[in-house]
Subunit: 406 residues, 2 copies
């Protein structure tokens, strides 16, 4: 780590210029730092004429979260970059290309996706992404299958697992998702208006038991190389393209954690929608789109995963009749449980989502928070008993109806 | 690995002499190689006068199994030695002390246990070990609890897990326990007299499905640092002492795998006993002892484990009411499943046990093999549904009765 230092804008330009066959020698390169400065520096270097760009991401040795500083290993830049490369090799259409890296500087040089929008922002702005479910279902199925004991040599998987030991970032997930929201922790960020709802979580024994079991799965089930933080802020979209970025939380964990992250974040946007058309007794179109997307995400995941299994299974034992059904049911149950846990932590935990927090009308915002907590709690409790993805839809609709009634 | 070479007897003596405060300078040291030469060299260096000894264990870069040579990483000597040291720190009365080591030479210098007997041999000779259950229950509870997310910092556990990635030796377990016995593999060693019994395993869909699930648990559930090969040949005993040796298969896996190994091997000896007293309609005393020992092993494990949990739990979330009961039930279920799998592989798989194979009378031997297969199959099928350790006893007794009837 001896020559680590945060890059200057000029150093970033020089690094960009050194990438072969990207910018012409005469190009006038513009440089800007576009990160939020909390965890990483992110430079965008752009050719002033062609508008062609490149991204340089550099890890900082700490996390700034609500003013606090939290030391973080720079090795996470290597983990993120290696995860990107593994994912790119599997689904190159859905992951930015890595052009170069420097482990000592904790730097990755990668494809610029300026023509895409962060999906969370797009959803908040009311956009629909009809190809998203197909894309993300494919991403999840391929990246999970081919990094698991099902789809790769089991000895190589163990070596790969050791390269993705990611204690610092796993610690963030362990605390912020599975621990703090379920007790009166100073790390929580609880809006005063829903304080009693938060306290109800702390007294819900059934909920806390299920959370303990989900946490155990997160800590001990090394099924596949996860993205580890697959919310809608880690996904770039256009009408025709989806790109998954920022796998710095990558580690070997339970497959349902990634799928649950996608679904939980779609449901947070769902909870944040203003409305149920009481006269028509139906959901508004954004909510309809979100629920349909959730079904489609699961179905694309499942059909892709089964197709890969039937074609490329490595593990003879996994071809035992009946095993695939049990395996997929387990992923479904984990998915539903983790989706619920991800929703709850975004309402009462340290880090919230803009979908809910940017709602200006306090009355609407409180309703959104309660709806999210209601859906999240129901999903966590359903998890181990679930048999079909449709149960999520039933819960989501019921939660909205109940909110409307109050 | 540059200066690795198999030690000579003289080099072993010199190494022994270099251990501080062990042998006097004037001691006349006798040296013998007592290993079976299949995986390791084992030197015993003894002071001719005092009879005080020391053991030097050196890994060989291959395994010789039924004439075949199989390359094996020398790093397993480091893994074995580090596992011994971790276990010794936790239960020093139950593990040989490590005096020195050399990773390049793949050598560990440790306490001589010549006054102890290998437990498998002791059982074959008809001895009872009344303190064994208490000792091994304590060993398992302490070594599993304090290396798991329950009993140690969860970030340090991840780093420790990475040091115990043990692909070569896990591969042996994966193939020989969970794969080969369930198909017509050239690695199997099937006595011709029970060929039809072996073929029945290959056609037993329920059994194979449960084995696939046990294999998945072995591959992906990183609960605790296991011994990994805890059969009665890895345990030294006297009437008053128990020492667990040879953890070269150590890795992070499901807790039930270690407990199941102990119980499965006790049941193999049980199956190998000649008799049921038909007139008295009761088990012979060795069988009574073995069944009682199995109950006691579980009960000592469970009471130790719960006491450690209630005293030294690290994970706040694990204190959630109801969680401990679910956790222990899961260990019980895994234990029963793995015990069964361990029995089956020792009858039809590559590597057998002397308890059964040294029975001279072919009729008695075949009955022992069938009894072991019957118990093993029943345990594997019971596993996921089990609720009490007593169910093992019921199955073991029923299998003997059925054998007697035939």
């Amino acid at each position: 780590m001896s020559h680590y230092h945060p890059l200057t804008l000029d150093e970033a330009v020089a690094l960009a210029r050194s990438i072969p066959n990207h910018f012409s020698e005469q190009a006038e390169l513009l440089s800007e730092e576009i990160g939020d400065g909390n965890l990483n520096l992110v430079f965008r270097i752009t050719d002033a004429k062609t508008r062609k760009g490149i991204i340089i991401k550099q890890a900082l040795p700490y996390a700034k979260v609500v003013g606090e500083s939290w030391p973080l290993s720079l090795d996470r830049a290597r983990i993120e970059r290696e995860a990107l490369q593994i994912q790119y090799a599997l689904v190159p259409d859905l992951v930015p290309a890595v052009f170069n890296f420097d482990n000592d500087l904790a730097v990755t040089v990668m494809e610029d996706l300026s023509d895409h929008t962060i999906m969370r922002k797009g959803l908040i702005d009311g956009h629909h992404y009809p190809l998203f479910a197909e894309h993300i279902g494919k991403f999840i199925a391929h990246t999970l299958f081919y990094t698991s004991d099902l789809g790769m040599n089991q000895q190589q998987k163990k070596e790969q697992l050791a390269r993705f030991i990611n204690p610092d970032l796993c610690k963030i997930s362990e605390d912020l998702i599975f621990e703090d929201p379920y007790r009166d922790s100073p790390n929580n960020n609880i809006p005063e208006s829903i304080r009693t709802d938060a306290e109800a979580l702390w007294n819900d024994k059934e909920l806390k038991l299920e959370i303990a079991l989900l946490r155990e799965s997160f800590l001990t089930h090394t099924e596949a190389l996860l993205h580890g933080d697959l919310h809608t802020g880690s996904i770039f979209v256009t009408a025709s393209s989806t790109k998954v970025i920022d796998p710095e939380f990558a580690y070997y964990g339970p497959m349902g954690f990634d799928i649950g992250a996608v679904i939980g974040n779609l449901l947070l946007n769902y909870a944040a929608q203003p409305g149920w058309s009481a006269t028509a007794n139906k959901l508004n179109s954004q909510r309809e789109f979100l629920l349909q997307t959730i079904l489609n995400v699961w179905e694309h995941f499942e059909s892709n995963f089964i197709a890969l299994w039937n074609r490329d299974i490595v593990d003879i034992t996994a071809t035992t009749p009946g095993y695939q059904d049990i395996y997929i049911q387990k992923i479904l149950r984990d998915t539903i449980g983790f989706a619920g846990a991800k929703m709850i932590r975004r309402i009462v935990g340290l880090s919230h989502v803009a979908d809910v927090d940017t709602i200006e009308d306090e009355y609407v915002r409180i309703h959104a928070q309660r709806t999210a907590l209601r859906i999240g709690t129901s999903l966590v409790k359903l998890g181990r008993k679930a048999t079909h993805i449709q149960e999520i839809i039933t819960i989501a609709k019921a939660a909205v109806l109940e909110e409307v009634r109050q």
